[in-house]
C-alpha cells in the first residue's frame, strides 16, 4: 500500500489526476460565467455603454481555488485514503474467532466486539473464511458456521455475553477440520479451559487476545448475628482497592431504590473483602438484591431470596374474650414489637397451621386439643419455632406437670411463684447476665427490668442445657428445647406487663429478634428439591440487568440443586409456590482465578488502532465545497438577489445553526410563569370549559389584585402532559366527563407537584345535580383520575379549618352552586386542638387538594369588560353568593401562598398577652 505519513491509499494511481489541476485552472479561468437575461425598461439609457475592462469576464481566483479544492478532494477521495491502515496478519485457511462470552467480559464487551471487527477486516483483506462463536452460546447442533468476514461484520451485534461460563465446550471443536483460532478471552479461568485449548491447538495455531483487568464478583450476602455480611472476591489479587456494595429494595411506596451502601476494602494481597451492614430490621427486610456499584456484570449482582424475606409470625392468645383494657392484652406488646419486622397472622390454630408460619407464639395458652397439639408438634419438627409465654392459665393448668409436654421445653412446677408483691417476701427479681452460649448473649440488660411472678421449672437433668436466660437467683426465665428441625421456647413470664416489666423494655424486642432471626428458613437441600419444578421469575443477563423470566419454562429442582449455571440454569430468581430461591453467578465459596496461558501461546492485547477510511469525509467535503461554489458563483454572477439570497442564507445557516425552537418555547413558558405569581388551570381539552376557567381565574386574579397584596399576572392554561407544573402554587382543575386520563409521566409530575407543596382544586361542577361521591359522570371521572394520585385521607372542611380564616372569615364555600360538600386533607388523628385549630406541619400545613363541585370558576368568571360572565343565584342573594365565592377564592390563594403562617396567626392574641406581662 502506498503510504504518506499515517495515511495509506488504496488506489494511489488516481492521485496522478492531481497533475491535471493546473490545466483545469487555466480552462476554468478562460470560461466566463453564463449571462443572466433580465427585463429592464431602463435599457434605453444603457445603449452605447461599453465595458471598461477586457478582463472582467474572468472567474475570480478565490472561486477557482474553491473549485479546484473540490476537485482535488474528489480525486483524493476516490484514491481511497485510509488513516492508520492495518498491516494484515499473514494467515491462510479457515479462521475461528472464539469469544469466551462470559459475564466477566460484559463490562468491556464493546471493546471485544470492536477487536473482532478489526480481525474480521483483516481476514476480509486476506480472503479467509471465518466463524465467530461465543463459547457460552455454541451452535451445538451445527458445524462451525464458516462464512465470509463481511457477512459476520453484520452479525457481530447479535453476539452477546451470557451470565455463565462455558460448559463442556471442548468436544464441539473436535473433528471440525483444520483452522486457526483467535481466542478473545475474558481473562478468567474456568473448568474445561485446558481441554478447549487442547482442542484448538489440535486444529491449528492459537492466538489469545486479552487485557489484564480486575474481575470482581459479589458473593451472596449472609445473615449472621442479626447483621448482613457481604463479601466479594477479586482477581487478580493486587494492590488494595475499594468498591461499594449497594443494597437495593423497594421503599414503602413500592419504588426501587438504594437502601444502604457499604464500602468494601480489598486489602493488598487479599482476594476476598468482607463488610457488614447493620441495618434496622425494617430496612433489612426490604432488600431484594445487592450490587457492586460501578460494575456492569452479572457477578456484581447478588439476588436475595427467602433468606431475606420477612418472617411470618402467628399470634395466638388464650383469652380473647376480655374487653377493653388493651394494654393488658396478652398480645399487645408482642404486636407492637413484631409489627415492624414480621408479617403477623391472626386466626385460630388450625388455620394458622395451614398457613405454615415461621413462628407461632402462644401467649398463655394452656389447653390444646390433641389434633392441635399433634399439628403443632409436626410443624415444629419441620423447622417451626414455637414460642410460648406463661400466664395465669398456664400456671393454673396441669400441663407439663407430671411428664414433659412435647410442646413445653421443661416440666413445670405447680402454681409458680410471686416475689416482691404485697403478699410475698423478697424483692422483685432482676435478670442475670446472658450466658455466652445462649442466643441472647451480648444484649445489655436494663436495670429496671424486674420479674414479680413466674412459672417455675421442675428441676431436671436436662434443665441446665435448656435454660437460655435466667433470673439473678438462678431460676429459669427462658427455656428452649430442640425438636426435630425446630424448637420450642418458653418464656416463664407473661407476654404483658402483669408478671414482669420485661415487655415494657427494649430488651423484649431484642430478645424476640434474636429468637426469630435464628430461625430464618434455610435454603432447601437436594432431597427437598427433588421432583419440584421452579419457575424463573427474574433472570440476570451478563450485564447484571434483571429481566422478566416468567415466560420461560420451569427448571427441575435437581438442576437447581446441582447449582451449575449454564443455559439450563440461568442465574436469577426462581419460585415454587411461595418459596423463592436465588441462583447467583457467584456462590458463597466461589474463588476467581485469572486465566494462565502456556508460554507457547501468543497473547495479544485488545487495543487496536482503528483503520479509518477517509474517502467518505473527503467526498463530503467536496460536496460542501461545491455547494459553497454554487452560492458563490451565483453571488459573483449577480443572480443572488431577492428571494434567492434568502434561500442561500438559509441553506448556509442550516449548516451552522441547529434550530432550538422547542427549548426556546419551554424557556418562554418558564419565564412567563415565574416572573410573577400566576394562577393556573389544567387544560381539559374542552374549549368552552377552558375558556370559562381562564375567565374565572382572571376574575379571581383581579379580585386578589384589588383587595390583597397578592398581585397575580394573567392566569395560564397548563397542559399537564407537556408543561412543567412546579412553577405554579395553585392549579384549578375542572373535571369534564370525557376528560382523558393523564399519562404515567403526567401522574409522576402531578404527584411530585402535590408532595412538594402544590395545591390542586378539583371542581366537578355538578353540585347542582349531584352530591359528593354520588356517581355523576364528572364524579366518576374524578375518581378515575385521582386513583393514581397521591391524595391523603380527606374530610369535609371542618368549621375550624384554617381556610375559613386566612383572609375573610367564612362559613360556606359556595361557587355558582352552594353545596357544602367541600373536602380537604383530613387533620391527623393526633392533631392537637390548639385554640380550636388542628395544627399540622405537613406540606407547610397546606392541604394538597381541595375537592368540590361548586363550579367556582363560573362564579368568578369575568368578561373582557370586567362584568360577571354568568349569573349567580337571584337578585341580591345571588350577588352575595358571588361575593362569598370570591372571598373563598381569596382565602384559598392566601392559604396556598402563606402556608401555616395564617394558622399561626391564631396564636397572636396569646403571644400579645404574654408579651404584655
Amino acid at each position: 500500500m502506498f503510504m504518506i505519513g499515517p495515511i495509506g491509499f488504496v488506489a494511489p494511481m488516481l492521485l496522478l489526476g492531481l497533475i491535471a489541476l493546473p490545466i483545469l485552472w487555466i480552462l476554468l479561468r478562460a470560461v466566463p460565467p453564463a449571462p443572466v437575461r433580465r427585463r429592464f425598461p431602463g435599457v434605453a439609457l444603457l445603449l452605447g455603454l461599453t465595458d471598461d475592462e477586457s478582463q472582467s469576464d474572468r472567474t475570480p481566483w478565490w472561486l477557482l481555488l474553491l473549485r479546484l479544492l473540490a476537485i482535488a478532494a474528489v480525486i483524493i477521495g476516490f484514491a481511497g485514503p485510509t488513516l492508520n491502515p492495518q498491516q494484515a496478519r499473514d494467515g491462510r485457511g479457515d479462521l475461528v474467532i472464539a469469544l469466551d462470552g462470559t459475564w466477566a467480559g460484559a463490562p468491556d464487551w464493546q471493546a471485544k466486539i470492536d477487536r473482532v471487527s478489526a480481525l474480521l477486516t483483516e481476514a476480509a483483506a486476506s480472503e479467509r473464511r471465518v466463524a465467530v462463536v461465543t463459547l457460552t452460546g455454541l451452535p451445538l447442533a451445527e458445524p462451525l458456521p464458516f462464512a465470509a468476514p463481511n457477512a459476520w461484520q453484520e452479525r457481530l451485534a447479535n453476539l452477546q455475553p451470557q451470565p455463565w461460563q462455558p460448559v463442556a465446550a471442548a468436544p464441539y471443536f473436535v473433528d471440525q477440520g483444520d483452522f486457526e483460532t483467535y481466542w478473545i478471552s475474558d481473562g478468567l479461568d474456568y473448568p474445561g479451559r485446558d481441554d478447549l485449548l487442547a482442542a484448538f491447538e489440535a486444529a491449528g495455531n492459537v492466538t489469545v487476545f486479552q487485557t489484564p483487568r480486575q474481575v470482581t464478583g459479589l458473593r451472596p450476602a449472609r445473615f449472621e448475628d442479626g447483621e448482613v455480611r457481604v463479601s466479594a472476591a477479586r482477581t487478580p489479587v493486587g494492590a488494595p482497592s475499594e468498591t461499594t456494595v449497594t443494597a437495593i429494595g423497594l421503599d414503602p411506596a413500592g419504588v426501587e431504590r438504594a437502601l444502604a451502601t457499604v464500602p468494601l476494602m480489598f486489602e493488598a494481597g487479599q482476594q476476598v473483602a468482607e463488610a457488614t451492614l447493620d441495618l434496622p430490621p425494617e430496612l433489612r427486610n426490604r432488600i431484594t438484591r445487592f450490587e457492586l456499584t460501578g460494575t456492569r456484570s452479572a457477578a456484581a449482582v447478588s439476588l436475595g431470596d427467602d433468606a431475606l424475606r420477612r418472617r411470618e409470625v402467628a399470634l395466638i392468645a388464650g383469652r380473647d374474650d376480655r374487653e377493653g383494657l388493651e394494654l393488658l392484652s396478652q398480645l399487645f406488646y408482642l404486636r407492637e414489637a413484631l409489627e415492624p419486622t414480621a408479617d403477623l397472622i391472626d386466626g385460630n390454630l388450625e388455620d394458622v397451621l395451614l398457613a405454615n408460619p415461621d413462628v407461632i407464639i402462644l401467649a398463655d395458652v394452656a389447653i390444646l386439643t390433641d389434633i392441635e397439639a399433634q399439628g403443632i408438634a409436626d410443624w415444629v419438627d419441620q423447622g417451626g419455632l414455637l414460642l410460648r409465654f406463661a400466664g395465669p392459665r398456664l400456671a393454673a393448668s396441669d400441663v407439663g406437670r407430671r411428664a414433659e409436654d412435647p410442646l413445653l421445653p421443661v416440666r413445670l412446677r405447680e402454681g409458680g411463684r410471686s416475689v416482691g408483691g404485697a403478699m410475698s417476701w423478697g424483692e422483685p427479681k432482676a435478670l442475670a447476665p446472658f450466658a455466652p452460649d445462649t442466643p441472647f448473649f451480648g444484649l445489655t440488660i436494663p436495670d429496671d427490668v424486674t420479674v414479680t411472678s413466674q412459672v417455675m421449672a421442675q428441676p431436671d437433668p436436662t434443665l441446665a442445657d435448656r435454660v437460655i436466660a435466667q433470673l439473678a437467683d438462678g431460676t429459669p426465665l427462658v427455656t428452649r428445647k430442640f425438636s426435630g428441625d425446630g424448637q420450642v421456647v418458653l418464656v416463664h413470664v407473661t407476654a404483658n406487663a402483669e408478671w414482669s416489666s420485661l415487655p415494657l423494655s427494649g430488651l423484649f424486642v431484642q430478645m424476640l429478634e434474636r429468637l426469630a432471626v435464628s430461625t430464618r428458613p434455610a435454603t432447601p437441600d437436594a432431597t427437598e428439591l427433588e421432583g419440584t419444578t421452579w419457575q424463573p421469575q427474574e433472570l440476570l443477563d451478563a450485564y447484571g440487568r434483571l429481566q422478566d423470566g416468567r415466560d420461560l419454562a420451569g427448571v427441575a429442582g435437581e438442576v437447581l440443586a446441582a447449582g451449575m449455571t449454564g443455559p439450563q440454569l440461568q442465574p436469577g430468581l426462581y419460585a415454587e409456590r411461595d418459596r423463592q430461591i436465588a441462583v447467583n453467578v457467584i456462590g458463597p465459596d466461589t474463588v476467581l482465578t485469572a486465566a494462565q496461558w502456556p508460554a507457547r501461546i501468543a497473547v495479544e492485547g485488545m487495543d487496536v488502532l482503528r483503520a479509518t477510511a477517509l474517502k467518505g469525509w473527503l467526498l463530503t467535503a467536496a460536496l460542501a465545497l461545491l455547494l459553497v461554489d454554487l452560492i458563490a458563483s451565483m453571488a459573483v454572477g449577480g443572480r443572488l438577489r431577492g428571494p434567492r439570497a434568502d434561500v442561500a442564507a438559509a441553506v448556509l445557516l442550516a449548516f451552522f445553526i441547529a434550530p432550538d425552537a422547542q427549548a426556546q418555547a419551554t424557556e418562554d413558558f418558564a419565564i412567563q410563569a415565574t416572573s410573577e405569581v400566576v394562577l393556573a388551570h389544567v387544560l381539559t381539552g374542552d374549549p368552552e370549559v377552558d375558556e370559562v376557567t381562564a375567565a374565572g381565574l382572571l376574575g379571581l386574579s383581579q379580585t386578589l389584585f384589588r383587595r390583597t397584596s397578592i398581585e397575580p399576572a394573567a392566569p395560564m392554561g397548563v397542559n399537564i402532559e407537556t408543561d412543567e407544573l412546579a412553577f405554579f402554587p395553585f392549579l384549578y382543575w375542572p373535571i369534564t366527563a370525557d376528560q382523558p386520563l393523564p399519562s404515567r409521566e403526567a401522574y409522576g409530575k402531578l404527584n411530585r407537584y402535590l408532595r412538594s407543596g402544590g395545591m390542586i382544586l378539583f371542581d366537578t361542577r355538578d353540585a347542582d345535580t349531584a352530591r359528593f361521591g354520588s356517581g355523576s359522570p364528572e364524579g366518576a371521572r374524578l375518581q378515575a383520575i385521582a386513583r393514581s394520585l397521591d391524595i391523603p385521607p380527606l374530610e369535609p372542611i371542618p368549621a375550624d379549618h384554617v381556610l375559613t380564616r386566612t383572609f375573610y372569615l367564612l362559613q360556606d364555600f359556595p361557587g355558582r352552586h352552594a353545596s357544602r360538600d367541600v373536602w380537604v386533607e383530613a387533620a391527623p388523628v393526633d392533631a392537637v386542638q390548639i385554640e380550636g385549630v388542628p395544627f399540622r406541619n405537613l406540606n407547610d400545613g397546606v392541604t394538597p387538594v381541595v375537592i368540590g363541585g361548586n363550579d367556582w370558576a363560573r362564579a368568578w368568571a369575568v368578561t373582557s369588560n370586567g362584568g360577571p360572565m354568568f349569573p349567580v343565584g337571584r337578585g341580591t342573594a345571588g350577588e352575595r353568593q358571588r361575593e362569598i365565592a370570591l372571598r373563598f377564592g381569596v382565602n384559598l390563594i392566601m392559604h396556598v401562598l402563606t402556608g401555616n403562617y395564617k394558622s399561626d396567626q391564631v396564636h397572636v392574641p396569646d403571644l400579645l398577652d404574654r408579651l404584655g406581662q
Partner: protein, 289 residues
Amino acid sequence: MTTPLTLRSQAETLAAHLPPLLAEAEHLASTVLLGEHGRRRAGTGDTFWQYRPAQNHDAARSIDWRRSARSDARFVQDKEWQIAQSIILWVDQGASMGFASDDHATKGDRARTLAMALAVLLIRGGERVGLTGLRLPPRRGSLQLQQMAQILSENATTDHGSPDATGMLPHSRALFVSDFLGNIDGVRDALHRAADRGVKGALLQVLDPQEEAFPFDGRTIFQSMTGSVQHETLRARDLKSRYLDRLAARKDELAQLARLTGWQFHTHLTGQSATQALLWLYGALERRR
C-alpha cells in the same frame, strides 16, 4: 389585473384616504375642496367674498343697500370668483410601464392609480377632467370616471408611449405620467405645444426602485419589456455609475423642460407611498391656477 373595475376601485380606495384632502385641509378646506373652486379673489360666483366701497364704475344696482344703510359710504358686495377648470391627463400605456421588481406594484398600475385618484378628487371638487387626444374630452360626473378608467386600462404594444398634445383646451391644466425613459422628443414636442396654448401642468415620472438603484452584477443581457431592444454587458456593476449619470441627466432635462414651459416635475418611486405622490400632484395643480 387592470380591468376597469379594479382600476376604478383602486383609485377610489386611494382617493378615500384623502377625505377630500383632509390631511392638510384645515386651512384649505373651505376654498380648495368644497363646491366650485373658490379663487380667493373677487369675481363671478355665488358666495360672499367681501364688502368694498363702491367705485365710480360700479352700477347703482350693484350697491348693497342693506350694508350701505349702516354707514354713510356706499358698499358693493363682491362675490368670490368661482370657475371650473379643465384638466387633461395623459398616462403612458407603453410596455415598459409594466415593469415591477420584487413585490412592488408595476409602474403602470401606480401611474394609472394616481391619475385616476387625481381625477376622482378633481371631479369631486367640481372640475372637469379628460384625457389627451380626442377620445375623452373634459367632462364632469362619475360616468366620466368610468370611461376614463376604461380607456386607461388599455395597454400599448410599444415599449414607450408619447403624449398626444391634441385636444388640449387653451389655458387648461394637464398632467403627464410616464417613466420618461424612452425617446424624449415626443414629450418635448407636446410640452412646447402645450405651452403655446397656455396650458400649464405637471410631469410625474414613475420609476421602479430597481431603476433608480441598478443593483445588478455579473454578465447580464438587459432587454426592454417587449424584447425589441437589448444590451449585453460582462460586468453589470461597472455600468451602474454611468447608468445613474444618464438617469440623472434625463431627469435634469425633464426638469429643465418643465421649467421652460412653466410646468412642475416630480419623480415618484413605486416603493414609496402613492398618497405622497397624490399630494404632490394636487399641490402642483393647485399652486399656479
